[in-house]
Amino acid sequence: MIYEGKQKIWSDYQKDIPDDHYFYVRSCIRQSIFPASEMVFLDITRNKLQKDFFETEHHTTCGGIAYHSDAIPQETAMTIIARQFALMHKYGYENYVCSCITSFGLYTETLETWREFPELEAKIKEKLWESCKLEFAKPKYLAHASDIIYKFRNQIAQQAKFKLINKKTGEPLRVVEHIGCHYSKMFPSKGFGGAEYPYVLAGMIEAWGGEVIDYPERRHCCGFGFRQYFVQTNRGYSLSNTHKKFESMEPYKPDMIITNCPGCPYFLDRWQYVISETEGKTYGQDGHGIPVFTYEEVAGLVLGYDPWDLGLQVHQVGVEPLLDKMGIPYNPENKFKGLNNKDLGRPELPSCASL
């Protein structure tokens, strides 16, 4: 290996992320399946890191789900995106950060398409004015929310109350990091480390004391996709992709999985239940599954947030074994209590495995 050559290639996949003043947009599905992740992100950036992150209730979906499932044409998706950017401009921001990986991919695709085809950009500008009477603008900088946590990972480590370390053994936790495909596989230069060596989550794990596991199917898709999930009969394809990943990572005995995409944590989490029901197999220790987290949830755990405030009770795979390993205190009685101690109800346990 020529070290200088590697350094040069690596430098092509670095991003200079602005320090402050971001317009934040939420994800459609993350708010329902990992409800506290976005709240924790805003709380960390605003209150722990003292940064300016603005959000407005007027922003909408990016159109990604409809676009990727062929329900709307590209120009419609572009007009929706132009409206989002126009809102950012209206509120006086130039840096745009999104919570969703699909959105990040679609925003990048749209900006690149406008760069390649200025006539299309002009057309969208007109459509935006016709439909919304908003002034067209493009962000100076587009970031994914995981880029921000990555940038401030060392500050978070300085404020950490818990580390990704097994408290009993003192050994670093063995962590699988899984990057959403739309983060850097479509436009490698837009993600830290590109498509081959994405470092955004690995950097967080290392900064917070964990050990990154390198396993054969590390870069394999989680299997979500859009087409293979929306139609029920196609879901076997999605399931098989996830199954392939778990079979590949199992020998490395991971303690946890961290992801930066809305679909990946959902499917890596939920498919463990389906595999345990249909195949009778689990991949964690002592018959448990492997807990799956979003990067915000892990940052929240490291910073000492209450696990149930992070919404960890809505995960399919129980997180308690990991909390015990990290030495994080929790009250089991509060697990299914919502706001004002309202009972959230309890999920039915899987019939053939302890998840």
Binding site: Q232, T233, N234, G236, V274, E277, T278
Partner: protein, 109 residues
């Protein structure tokens, strides 16, 4: 056991380290042009037998590269050796000779 309306699909993974490469290497020695194939499919598109039977040199080469000899031979055994594919191959591979060599090497016990 819960029914979900879908299930795992069987894995199509091939472990090339487990495959015996002896015959493939022998074929390369005898027909080095096999490595020139870019799988364009012109041979298959122009195949006289291909309309009626499962004949496809392109598929056969792919299966041989993956060490799946049985499947490969399914695509070779019905070849009429008319040589039309040789005429259309953009890489000028002597496909007729290649088909003969594949048959010889892979049918030898």
């Amino acid at each position: 056991m819960t029914g979900f309306g879908y299930s795992l699909t069987p894995s199509s993974r091939i472990n090339l380290d487990d495959k015996d490469k002896e015959k493939w290497n022998k074929l390369i020695d005898l027909e080095p042009d096999v490595l020139k194939c870019m799988a364009c499919g012109s041979c298959t598109a122009s195949c006289t037998a291909g309309i009626f039977t499962k004949t496809s040199l392109r598929s056969a080469i792919l299966y041989l590269q993956n060490g799946q000899e049985k499947q490969a031979m399914e695509y070779v055994k019905s070849c009429l050796l008319c040589g039309k594919c040789f005429m259309v191959c953009p890489r000028a591979i002597n496909t007729r000779h290649l088909l003969l060599s594949i048959s010889k090497i892979y049918t030898l016990k």
